[in-house]
C-alpha cells in the first residue's frame, strides 16, 4: 500500500476513529486503526468490538492499493506534532512508514488480515434526522445519563421513534433530559438504548455543517449512523430503561418564566456557598421574584433575588445547582419555563421548543 495525502485531512479523519481503540484489551490488534486504500479512495476503520467507525479520508492519491494497520496512539500523536502539509504513507509487511518532509517514521504494525472484519449490519428501521439537531440533542441529554456505578448507571441514552418523531432521553435517576425532533423515514416505532460512548464518537465523527441528513438504521441489536461516507455502528445496550414517561409531571400548581442567562449567572454565584455533603440551592418563588439562597456551614451564606413571572402560589424548592446548571448551559432559550408543585415532587423545566428537563428536588431543606 502506498498513498500520498494531505496531513490536515488525515489528521481530521484520524480524530474521528482515534478515540475508539481501547487502551487496554486482551486483543491488542484492535489498538490499531485499519487504513484501507482502494482505487475509490482511502478509509480509516477502528473498532473496540462494541463500537466501530469508518471514515473516508479526503484529498488522497492512492499510488498502490492495499491495507495497513496504524498503531492508534502513536499515529495520532505523530499527526498532531508534524507540520508538513503532505505525507506519504507506505505499508510493507510488518511496518508502516510515514514520510514527511522533516523526516520519516517507521511504525511496527500487525498483520491487517488479523483485524476484525466490519460487523455485518442487518437492515431494520430506517430514519433520517437533521444532523445539527441530532447533535444538539446528544449534547443536551448525554450529561444527564449516569456514568458512575449507580443503580441507574444506564450508560446510555434511550432513542425512541414514535409517530414520526425521534426522542432522545438521558437519566441518572435524579434528573431526566428529553429532546425531540421530527424524522423522515419508516413509521415503525422503535425503542433502543445507545451507549453514551457511541454517541460521543458520533458527535466527533460527523460535521454539523453537513447539508445531508443523518441516516439512522436500527436492527435488533445494533444501530448504524451514516453521513457523508462516515459510518458508525454500535451494539445496543440491553439495559432496561426506566419508565420515564411516568415521572414527567402532567400538571403543576405554579408556572414560572425566568431569564435563562440571568438565572444561570445568579445560580453560579449562589452555588459558591452551597458546599456540604449535598450541594443545594434553595429557590423561593413569591410574587414577582425568586429568592435564591445557599448555606455552607462554617463558610457562609448567599442570598440573591431576581425577577420572574409567576402564575400560581409559588413556594420553596431546593435543587442541586450543578444539575440545573448542566442543563441551563446547553439551552439556547432566552426565557425558560419552570413548572413546579411542591418541594418533594419533580419540577419540569422547558429549556427549548423541544427540550424538556425534569429535576428532582432535594428534601429536608
Amino acid at each position: 500500500m502506498k498513498i500520498l495525502c494531505d496531513r490536515q485531512q488525515l489528521q481530521e479523519a484520524f480524530t474521528v476513529v482515534g478515540g475508539i481503540p481501547p487502551l487496554k484489551t486482551p486483543k491488542p490488534v484492535i489498538q490499531s486503526v485499519l487504513m484501507d486504500a482502494t482505487a475509490d479512495g482511502v478509509t480509516l476503520y477502528a473498532t473496540d468490538l462494541e463500537i466501530s467507525a469508518k471514515v473516508p479520508v479526503d484529498a488522497v492519491k492512492v499510488a498502490e492499493p492495499g491495507r495497513t494497520l496504524l498503531p492508534a496512539r502513536e499515529t495520532s500523536a505523530l499527526l498532531r506534532e508534524l507540520s508538513d502539509p503532505t505525507l506519504t504513507l507506505s505499508g510493507q509487511e510488518g511496518r508502516t512508514t510515514i514520510d514527511a518532509g522533516t523526516g520519516s517514521f517507521v511504525l511496527v504494525s500487525n498483520d491487517p488480515s488479523q483485524f476484525p472484519a466490519e460487523p455485518e449490519f442487518k437492515q431494520g428501521v430506517e430514519v433520517e434526522v437533521p444532523v445539527r439537531e441530532f447533535l444538539d440533542m446528544i449534547r443536551r441529554t448525554s450529561f444527564a445519563a449516569a456514568r458512575e456505578e449507580t443503580r441507574y448507571a444506564i450508560n446510555g441514552l434511550l432513542l425512541e421513534l414514535k409517530d414520526g418523531g425521534a426522542r432522545l432521553i438521558g437519566t441518572d435517576g435524579r434528573r431526566l433530559a428529553l429532546c425531540y425532533t421530527e424524522h423522515g423515514g419508516d413509521a415503525q416505532n422503535s425503542r433502543v438504548v445507545i451507549p453514551i460512548r457511541a454517541l460521543q464518537a458520533l458527535s466527533k465523527a460527523v460535521s454539523d455543517e453537513s447539508s445531508e441528513p443523518l441516516r439512522i438504521s436500527i436492527s435488533s441489536n445494533q444501530i448504524r449512523f451514516a453521513l457523508d461516507g462516515t459510518e458508525l455502528i454500535s451494539q445496543l445496550l440491553d439495559n432496561r430503561f426506566p419508565e420515564y414517561e411516568q415521572v414527567i409531571p402532567k400538571a403543576a400548581d405554579s408556572t414560572i418564566e425566568i431569564e435563562r442567562e440571568h438565572l444561570e449567572k445568579n445560580l453560579r454565584r449562589v452555588a459558591i456557598l452551597s458546599s456540604g455533603e449535598v450541594r443545594m440551592v434553595r429557590f423561593k418563588f413569591e410574587g414577582s421574584e425568586v429568592k435564591l439562597s445557599a448555606e455552607s456551614s462554617g463558610i457562609g451564606r448567599a442570598d440573591l433575588s431576581m425577577g420572574i413571572e409567576l402564575n400560581g402560589p409559588g413556594g420553596s424548592i431546593s435543587f442541586n445547582p450543578d444539575f440545573l446548571l448542566d442543563a441551563l448551559k446547553v439551552s439556547d432559550r432566552e426565557l425558560v419555563r419552570i413548572d413546579m408543585t411542591d418541594d418533594s415532587t419533580p419540577a419540569k423545566f422547558t429549556l427549548g421548543d423541544s427540550y424538556t428537563y425534569i429535576l428532582m428536588p432535594i428534601s429536608g431543606s
Binding site: 449516569a146 449507580t150 443503580r151 437519566t171 435517576g173 419533580p346 432535594i362 428534601s363 429536608g364 431543606s365
Partner: protein, 390 residues
C-alpha cells in the same frame, strides 16, 4: 481480672445542644424533631419530658401535650461535631470505646486504671472534660459489665454518676423493677409480672424451668444471668466504622428463592436499624453470598443517594443477590453490609430520586416515620415483635 466498664450517655443530647446554642431555649421545654405534618420527636428536653413528650412520638401529639414548647429541627451536622468532641474525650481514657450512637458509648477502662485512677475517677474526669469541651452534661454508669453499667448510667439522670463496685452488683440489681432487664419489652415484662416477679431479685430466685415456661428457654436463661449481674459481652471498639453489616450462616443450605429473599430483607432491615440508631446513612450496599462449601461472592452497588431506609437497602440487596445467585442455587451464608457511611439523619438534605419508591408508598417522609415507629416498637418489644410484610 475484674473489668471496669463505663457507660456514658449524654443527657437529652439534641435538646441540650439546642439549649446550649440558644440561651433563649434554656429552662424551656424544647422538642427536637421533624417539623412537617408527619414529623416525629427525636429528643425532648427534660422540661418537655415533664409533659409526657417522648422520642418517636408524632410531633402533632407533642404539640398537643405542650403547645408552649419550642420546636426545632435537628441539626445533625452540629450533633455529629459535638459527638466527635465527646468521642475524643472517651478516646483519651481508653482505646476500648464502643459507640452505640452519637450520644452514648461503652468504655472498657480496665487497662487505664493504673494510669487514671479507678472507674469513678475516670467517670468524673469524663464528666468534667465533656462539660469543659462541649458545655453539656453526661451521665455515667460504672460497673463490671455492660448491662450493669448501662442500668447505672440511666439511674440518676441528668449528670448522674452511679458506681456499682465489684461484688455489690447483686445488691444493686436486686431491688430494681423487671423493666430494667435488657431485652425485656412490655410483653415479656407482663409475663414476668404474671409469674409474680416484680424485681430482678424475683427473677434471679425463680426456678429456671418455671421462667422458661413463660418467656422461653433462651430468654429465661438470659434474664437470670443478667439478674445475677452476669454479662460477658465485651466492649467492642469500633474505631472508624467503615461499614455496618449483618450476616447469617445456615445449618442447612437455603435453596428456596423466597427464603433467600426473606433473609436478605431481614438482614437489610437490621442494618437499617443500626444505621438509624447511629445516626448515619450509607451510600453503598454490599451483599455477600456463600455457596457450599466455601465459594463466596460479594457484590456491591453505589446508591444514587445515601440512605438508612430498610426498603431502599433491601431493594438494592435483593437486586445484588439476584445477580450473584442463580434461582434455586443453594446458599450457606448471606450477608448484607452498608458501607460508605456518612453522618445522616432526618434533617440532612437528600437528593430525591425520580424512580425510587423510597420507603412506604414512595413517600420518603412516610418511610422515615414508619422506620422510626418500627424502631420504637422493636426497642420496646424486641426484634421479633414486628417485621415488614415479606
Amino acid at each position: 481480672m475484674v473489668r471496669t466498664v463505663l457507660h456514658a450517655d449524654m443527657d437529652a443530647f439534641y435538646a441540650s445542644v439546642e439549649q446550649r446554642d440558644d440561651p433563649a431555649l434554656r429552662g424551656r421545654p424544647v422538642v427536637v424533631g421533624g417539623l412537617g405534618r408527619r414529623g416525629v420527636v427525636s429528643t425532648a428536653s427534660y422540661e418537655a419530658r415533664k409533659f409526657g413528650i417522648r422520642s418517636a412520638m408524632p410531633i402533632g401529639e407533642a404539640r398537643r401535650r405542650c403547645p408552649d414548647a419550642v420546636f426545632v429541627r435537628p441539626r445533625m451536622e452540629v450533633y455529629a461535631a459535638v459527638s466527635a468532641e465527646i468521642r475524643a474525650v472517651f478516646d483519651a481514657c481508653t482505646p476500648l470505646v464502643e459507640p452505640l450512637s452519637l450520644d452514648e458509648a461503652f468504655l472498657d477502662v480496665t487497662g487505664s486504671r493504673a494510669l487514671l485512677g479507678d472507674g469513678e475517677a475516670i467517670a468524673r474526669r469524663i464528666q468534667a472534660e465533656v462539660r469543659a469541651r462541649t458545655g453539656l452534661s453526661v451521665s455515667v454508669g460504672v460497673a463490671t459489665t455492660k448491662f450493669v453499667a448501662k442500668v447505672a448510667s440511666d439511674l440518676h439522670k441528668p449528670a448522674g454518676l452511679t458506681v456499682v463496685s465489684p461484688g455489690t452488683e447483686q445488691a444493686f440489681l436486686d431491688p430494681l423493677p423487671v423493666r430494667r432487664l435488657w431485652g425485656a419489652g412490655p410483653v415479656q415484662q407482663e409475663r414476668l409480672l404474671a409469674l409474680g416477679l416484680e424485681t430482678l431479685r424475683d427473677v434471679r430466685e425463680v426456678p429456671l424451668a418455671a421462667l422458661a415456661q413463660r418467656v422461653g428457654a433462651a430468654a429465661a436463661e438470659r434474664f437470670q444471668q443478667l439478674a445475677r449481674g452476669i454479662d460477658l459481652r465485651p466492649v467492642e471498639p469500633d474505631r472508624d466504622a467503615k461499614s455496618i453489616g449483618s450476616e447469617r450462616t445456615f445449618d442447612e443450605d437455603l435453596t428456596a428463592d423466597d427464603d433467600v429473599r426473606r433473609v436478605v430483607g431481614r438482614l437489610a432491615a437490621e442494618v437499617g436499624r443500626r444505621l438509624r440508631a447511629a445516626g448515619i446513612v450509607a451510600r453503598t450496599v454490599r451483599v455477600k453470598v456463600r455457596f457450599p462449601p466455601f465459594r463466596t461472592l460479594t457484590r456491591q452497588v453505589r446508591l444514587t443517594a445515601a440512605t438508612d431506609d430498610d426498603v431502599v437497602l433491601a431493594d438494592a440487596a435483593l437486586e445484588l443477590c439476584a445477580a450473584a445467585r442463580a434461582p434455586g442455587e443453594p446458599v450457606r451464608l448471606l450477608g448484607v453490609t452498608a458501607a460508605d457511611l456518612v453522618p445522616g439523619g432526618a434533617s440532612e438534605p437528600r437528593q430525591l430520586g425520580l424512580f425510587e419508591q423510597e420507603g412506604a408508598a414512595g413517600d420518603p417522609e412516610r418511610g422515615r416515620r414508619l422506620n422510626a415507629a418500627l424502631d420504637a416498637i422493636r426497642e420496646r418489644f424486641g426484634d421479633a415483635a414486628i417485621r415488614r410484610g415479606e
